[in-house]
């Protein structure tokens, strides 16, 4: 009886799955076209899954092994089950025992994995979604156990006909449950959807260049402003590209993003997991009432609904998502870094912001003012662009316009207008001079890099600034751009090329100052007095670390200074954002606490008296914390303070009292050191 029943059940489930898949694919295809190499993607998919994705999952060893057993067991069991029970190969004399044996092994492995899944679901952490996900371990066990048991008679381990018909039917019923979850559910929106959508998402990922050892792809992609038909950002779910929608569907609701999101922790109305789920709701149409995870702080579930062609953010009232949710993001990429499904949350958020800024003209807080300033003055503060070099009036910085060609172009960034950052810049100039670096600055030719404009969604202003900076840079010859601003660093390194053409930075590299200082030290061009201060910790700037993978150079510099870094629990790729990225301080969405306060608490936990940073934005945010226990200093300042000046002839100064007689024979010092 089962020999007849099982193929029917299996192929019915598969047929339903195929129908579901077609429907699901049609949902994704509501999105805009995207240029994807389908075949190459499919070919690359296994490696992306087994290497890249596994690399992220493996950060949690138990979960990783659980998933290997469960998913591996399932994939193998599903294929073998079709062969053994669906196509009846189990009764083949030659193949049957082998396939059946393998099926037993696979289903057993899956069952063991399911036990661990079940264990985790007993006291699930807050970040995990509940709802249908709570039944998943049972479904997994139902599937694996029923397949296992149903295979025993096939192999003859138990004689056919063991037990009663009732028992067999009961077992079949359990199998139906399992099949329903695993096949039908996979394409009809059950928890197993992640496997189907996830596999295709990996194959057709919008950033194929991020896969592979050491590769990363973090620059935002440009809007085509020349095409009058192209939408300015994303208004409705269907304005996303089809593979973005596919990516949203891959979410397993594990909540690793939620656990890392600084805005969520601060009680701002953002939860990256919920945002992705809202996009899923939007693409299918409906309300978020069935969402079973943590809501956006202070935003009850069930009040928002969307439609594939309806606005995501309402001009008035509510739609799918509130604007303040989108504006809470600091673009710190902690969610992207943590996501085992390689979903690109930040891209989606900026896409939606673009529409709000470019079409609604609705950038909250000081956003509109900052953008107006950028348009009028090329800097976010609205300062006289002619005052860009005021801070350095006494430093006699060489202008690249006068030099034509230098080794290093020092990119100053908009920190030139900020007295705090001016100290960092002066320190950096002192360091470069101490090392005898041949450098120059753009002076008033430099403009804001466009980072803030872009992240506030004003792609037009970003591109305007970028194109003018690109044109300026192309006039001069240098080998390296050095900057103390990771945001400028990121934009120059990763985001200008798309606008500047492939040859744009063919002849030069961009270095964060910590990287460059580390190189100078390695080359023996800097000498330091040993550190005498207290305990020091280091805060990784998002745009240096997660965006650009530079975790080591700043630590190497600190080590060279004789500092042993007392690491924060959240450091390196898990560093907690200072709250200063993505225009978040400008849009200033209220929460229950401030992100920099939380970060300074992290610092406090290390017992550090000083937190070393490498970003003007981080410095500003962390220094703004009231009653902080640690001093905030840029790495350049620490280096400048520790410099042992080169011996005579370097223009070091005349601290020791000289007799007037000796002074009269000495050439006058014209060069001013900072």
């Amino acid at each position: 009886m089962l020999d007849t029943l099982l193929p029917i059940l299996i192929f019915s489930a598969l047929a339903l799955a195929v129908i579901g898949a077609v429907r699901r694919i049609r949902l994704w295809r509501q999105g805009r076209p995207a240029r994807v190499d389908l075949l190459r993607g499919l070919a690359a998919m296994p490696r992306r899954y087994l290497v890249d994705l596994h690399h992220v999952v493996a950060r949690d060893k138990v979960m990783s092994n659980t998933h290997v057993a469960t998913a591996g067991g399932f994939v193998a069991a599903a294929v073998l089950m079709i062969l053994v029970h669906g196509l009846g190969l189990g009764s083949s004399e030659s193949m049957g025992p082998i396939l059946g044996g393998l099926l037993l092994l696979a289903s057993a492995a899956m069952f063991v994995g399911s036990l661990f899944v079940a264990k985790r679901r007993r006291n699930p952490p807050a970040r995990l979604s509940k709802g249908p996900w709570m039944r998943l371990p049972k479904s997994l066990m139902a599937f694996s156990a029923s397949v296992f048991l149903l295979t025993l008679p096939t192999l003859g381990i138990l004689p056919a006909g063991t037990g009663s018909v009732i028992l067999a039917l009961a077992l079949a019923a359990v199998l139906v449950w399992g099949l329903g979850e695993m096949f039908f559910g996979m394409t009809w929106g059950g928890p197993m959807k992640h496997a189907f959508a996830g596999a295709l998402h990996l194959a057709f990922h919008r950033r194929p260049e991020r896969f592979g050892e050491g590769n990363r792809s973090t620059g935002l992609k440009a809007l085509n402003l020349d095409d009058p038909k192209a939408p300015l950002g994303v208004e409705t779910p269907s304005d996303f590209t089809w593979n973005q929608l596919l990516g949203f569907d891959a979410c397993v609701q594990c909540g690793r993003c939620e656990a890392m999101c600084p805005a969520f922790a601060a009680g701002q109305p953002l939860n990256p997991k919920k945002l992705i789920q809202d996009m899923v709701v939007g693409m299918a149409g409906g309300s978020d009432a069935h969402y079973a995870g943590s809501p956006y702080p202070d935003k009850p579930i069930g009040e928002h609904r969307g439609h594939p062609h309806g606005p995501i953010v309402a001009r008035e009232g509510t739609a799918l998502v509130d604007a303040e949710t989108l504006w809470s993001c600091t673009t710190c990429r902690a969610c992207v870094e943590e996501c085992p499904m390689m979903i690109e949350h930040v891209d989606a958020i900026v896409d939606m912001r673009r529409f709000l800024t470019l079409e609604h003209g609705n950038t909250p807080g000081k956003g509109a003012e900052v953008l107006d300033n950028l348009i009028a003055t090329d800097n976010p503060g609205g300062f006289d662009p002619g005052s860009r070099m005021h801070w350095a009036a006494d430093l006699n910085l060489p202008l690249i316009r006068d030099m034509g060609q230098v080794d290093v172009l020092l990119w100053l960034g908009d920190g030139v207008f900020d007295m705090r950052n001016q100290r960092t810049l002066r320190a950096l100039v002192k360091v470069l001079r101490a090392a005898g670096v041949d450098f120059a600055v753009l002076g008033n030719e430099e403009r804001d890099s466009g980072d803030v404009a872009r992240r506030l969604g004003d792609e037009a202003t970003f591109q305007s600034l970028a194109k003018r900076n690109i044109a300026t840079l192309s006039q001069y010859r240098f080998q390296c751009i050095v900057t103390c601003d990771p945001h400028s660093f990121h934009v120059l390194k990763n985001e200008y090329r798309e606008l500047g053409g492939p040859d744009f930075n063919a002849n030069w590299v961009v270095r964060h100052h910590s990287t460059y200082i580390a190189e100078l030290f390695e080359a023996g061009r800097l000498h330091f007095t040993p550190w005498k201060g207290g305990r020091v910790t280091y805060h990784d700037p998002c745009y240096l670390g997660r965006y650009n993978g530079e975790y080591e150079a700043p630590r190497n510099v600190l080590k060279a200074l004789g500092i042993e870094v007392a690491e924060m629990q959240r450091s390196g790729f898990r560093s907690r954002c200072c709250g200063g990225g993505g225009g978040a301080p400008i849009t200033d969405i209220p929460g229950k606490q401030r992100i920099p306060d939380m970060r300074m608490n992290d610092v406090k936990e290390t017992g550090a008296e000083l937190v070393a940073v490498g970003c003007p934005q981080c410095t500003a945010m962390l220094e703004g914390v009231v009653d902080a226990t640690a001093e905030v200093r840029d790495i350049a300042e620490l280096v400048a303070d520790a410099l042992v000046e080169r011996p005579a002839g370097s223009g070091g100064g005349s601290d020791s009292a000289r007799t007037p007689q000796s002074a009269s024979t000495r050439p006058l010092m014209k060069e001013v050191t900072p």
Binding site: A393, R420, S654, A657, A663, M669
Partner: protein, 690 residues
């Protein structure tokens, strides 16, 4: 950006100044080596450059000729090539911190003294005596005029060869150039006097000669006054005409403008406005000059605060602000603005201790910052944390000495507790600030309050410390700065009693602090002649009392400095306070409801009486020594301060010695009554190596 106007660089001639803040020319009285710039001089300016000051114009009244004596105020002597290498030291020290430095050069004409050094014959256009210095002079001859013009050119050359960035020709404060300008002093009828062009001729010839000598690339500016404030002197309109006239030559790179002439005591007090003046009282005069000239205008007078400076610059009244006393109080003013430490700026309170010392030919010092102009001795503006053991330091007394001791000890990283019997910090400063026009002196306390809070000093206000409370804290160091009490018991005939019901006299402290209600008809007897007596007189008169202030000295307020006694006099005369000198208080007795004060003429012995309802006596301070003697025997060092170490600003040797118990030091008025600066200086040099 906050303070963007301050931090906008400016071009003066071909020179770029990094910000808009200038330390303007003032006599430092530091060129004590025959007019050569000493190490002290160099370090004093280096500190300002290090602290971020844009431009220093050093050497107020630095002389170009040998008949303009430099010795009285130890100004810089540019009449000899010997100065050139000294300038190179000075220029290097400022340039290496990104600052620029110029020097004021001048011939002071009649505005000097002749009774010393080379016993010169002073010169002036018409030989009219100068009242402030009581100096007579000769009428200058044509040959001398041309010699001095040449001296100016040579002096400018020396400044240039020494690597300075420019010179400022002083045509202010009634020096020789403006002696020629002013019809009040210039009565000549030859080509050097009379018509506008003739009166301008000397200055013009000086400018031409200097410019010819130094060329176009070296900065040459002029400091002028905005209005002499004399009916027969130069008015604001005259000064606009003069400025425009010189500006039209295109040879002047900047003008510095000062409100008020200064050849009388009263006008002189305007030049360096003390705390009785409003902020920037003469800005309008500088702004008037700016209207008629094309080059940058600098103005200094009572500009003390970064917000004030920003407001003035933002308003476009002038191009650069002089913050000279502000820099004497805190040479790191600019750096603190940039560090976002505005609250840590030690702001000038306008006590004019600096300038009032200078008028006596004494070195310029700051009433509240003992490190200023002592940089060469190693007295620090920024106190480094100690690398030695952390000590428990207990300071008793929250007056200036105690506050400074607590601040410095806390900056050194020690655990500091400060006891003050009163409910607030300040000591005698609190009392002094009660007088009309003297409230700003409390700025000294305000700064310490902020600093002690920042440094987390344990303040025990309203708590009188005794031996037991002190020893309970198990201190390593005890510093007593308990001050003293008014010394009214010196002569029993005055009828002072500790019982206020019985006492026939009260102190100025009683009056100013409000402890005793003002009388209606008051005699103040002031044997000290510093601020307290005249302050009490001003206070009582302000409250409606009829006041006579009597002293046995040469005049009431005789020991108040030259820029401050005039503002007291303005106020006292205005309120019809009677000022009487040469009488001693012989006796006070009660007669019915009234008090009778018997006064004895110092020179004749004749007695006279005043019938009043209140007798206020200012007879200085008697040290409060009780706690000191209670602790002395038990302290490790028996309370002794090693004077050689103290005077050399070195660590007290006993700090390095091991031992049980505590070290005991005392400073300020509880040792012997001196002044605010003395107390702060002792505290700094005693505690900086703690």
């Amino acid at each position: 950006m906050a303070f963007d106007a301050i931090f906008e660089p400016i071009q003066i001639g071909k020179l770029t100044i990094r910000n808009r803040v200038v330390s303007t020319a003032h006599a430092e009285v530091h060129a004590t080596d025959g007019g050569m710039t000493t190490e002290r001089y160099v370090k004093y300016y280096e500190e300002k450059a290090k602290g971020g000051c844009g431009l220093c114009i050093c050497g107020g009244s630095s002389v170009v000729s040998i008949d303009s004596p430099q010795g009285w105020w130890s100004s810089v002597n540019l009449s000899t090539d010997r100065i050139i290498p000294y300038f190179q030291n000075l220029a290097d020290a400022v340039h290496k911190h990104g600052g620029k430095i110029m020097i004021q050069i001048t011939h002071m004409g009649r505005r000097s003294r002749w009774d010393g050094f080379d016993w010169p014959t002073l010169v002036s256009p018409s030989g009219i005596r100068e009242p402030v210095h009581r100096s007579t002079c000769k009428t200058i001859e044509e040959e001398e005029i041309w010699r001095i013009i040449g001296d100016y050119a040579q002096a400018a050359r020396r400044a240039k060869e020494g690597g300075l960035d420019g010179v400022e020709l002083s045509a202010v404060h009634q020096h020789l150039i403006d002696q020629f300008w002013s019809p009040r002093v210039n009565k000549r009828t030859d080509q050097w006097g009379g018509s506008f062009e003739n009166r301008m001729r000397f200055g013009m010839e000086v400018l031409k000669a200097v410019r010819a000598e130094v060329g176009e690339d070296f900065v040459v500016g002029m400091r002028i006054c905005g209005d002499e404030f004399h009916p027969d002197g130069l008015t604001h309109e005259d000064m606009k005409q003069i400025a425009a006239y010189y500006d039209a030559t295109g040879q002047v790179d900047f003008f510095g403008v000062i409100g008020s002439g200064c050849d009388t005591h009263n006008t002189l007090a305007n030049v360096i406005p003390n705390m009785s003046f409003p902020p920037e009282p003469f800005l309008h005069l500088a702004a008037g000059i700016k209207e008629v000239v094309k080059v940058p205008v600098i103005h200094a007078q009572n500009i003390k605060d970064p917000n004030q400076a920003q407001r003035i610059l933002e308003g476009g009244y002038v191009d650069l602000v002089g913050m000279t006393r502000a820099h004497i109080a805190d040479p790191h003013l600019i750096a603190k603005i940039k560090m976002g430490q505005i609250d840590q700026i030690k702001q000038c309170v306008g006590a004019n201790y600096c300038i009032d010392r200078q008028y006596q030919g004494l070195d310029v010092l700051c009433i509240q910052n003992a490190a200023t102009s002592r940089e060469y001795m190693g007295l620090p503006h920024i106190i480094e944390k100690s690398e030695g053991p952390k000590r428990k330091v207990v300071v008793v007394g929250g007056g200036p000495g105690g506050m400074e001791a607590a601040r410095v000890a806390a900056e050194r990283g020690h655990d500091v507790t400060l006891f003050e019997a009163a409910d607030q910090l300040g000591g005698q400063i609190t009392i002094a600030a009660q007088a009309p026009q003297r409230d700003q002196i409390a700025g000294i306390t305000r700064w310490y309050q902020l600093e002690l809070a920042r440094l987390k000093v344990d303040l025990r206000l309203g708590t009188r410390a005794d031996e037991a409370t002190l020893e309970d804290l198990r201190p390593d160091v005890v510093i007593l700065a308990t001050g003293g009490q008014p010394f009214l018991s010196q002569y029993p005939e005055w009828g002072y009693s500790e019982n206020p019901e019985e006492s026939l006299v009260v102190s100025t402290w009683d009056v100013l602090s409000g402890k005793v209600a003002p009388g209606k008809n008051v005699l103040i007897y002031d044997s000290i002649c510093e601020f307290s007596g005249v302050s009490a007189a001003d206070y009582l008169a302000d409250k409606g009392a009829k006041v006579e202030i009597v002293t046995d000295d040469i005049k009431p307020g005789a020991a108040v400095g030259g820029t401050t006694f005039p503002t007291y006099y303005r106020s006292l005369y205005e309120k019809e306070v009677i000022m009487t000198s040469d009488l001693m208080l012989h006796k006070v007795y009660r007669e019915g409801d009234a008090l009778v004060a018997v006064l004895e003429n110092e020179y004749t012995g004749a007695m006279e009486e005043r019938v009043v309802d209140q007798v206020v006596v200012e007879n200085g301070v008697r040290p409060d020594e009780a706690l000191y003697y209670a602790l002395k025997e038990r302290s490790r060092n028996r309370g002794q301060v090693d004077l050689e170490a103290l005077y050399a600003a070195k660590a007290q040797p006993c700090l390095a010695e091991e031992g049980d118990g505590y070290l005991l030091f005392r400073l300020g008025d509880c040792t012997a009554p001196r002044n605010t600066h003395a107390a702060i200086y002792d505290a700094l040099r005693l505690c900086k190596d703690l």
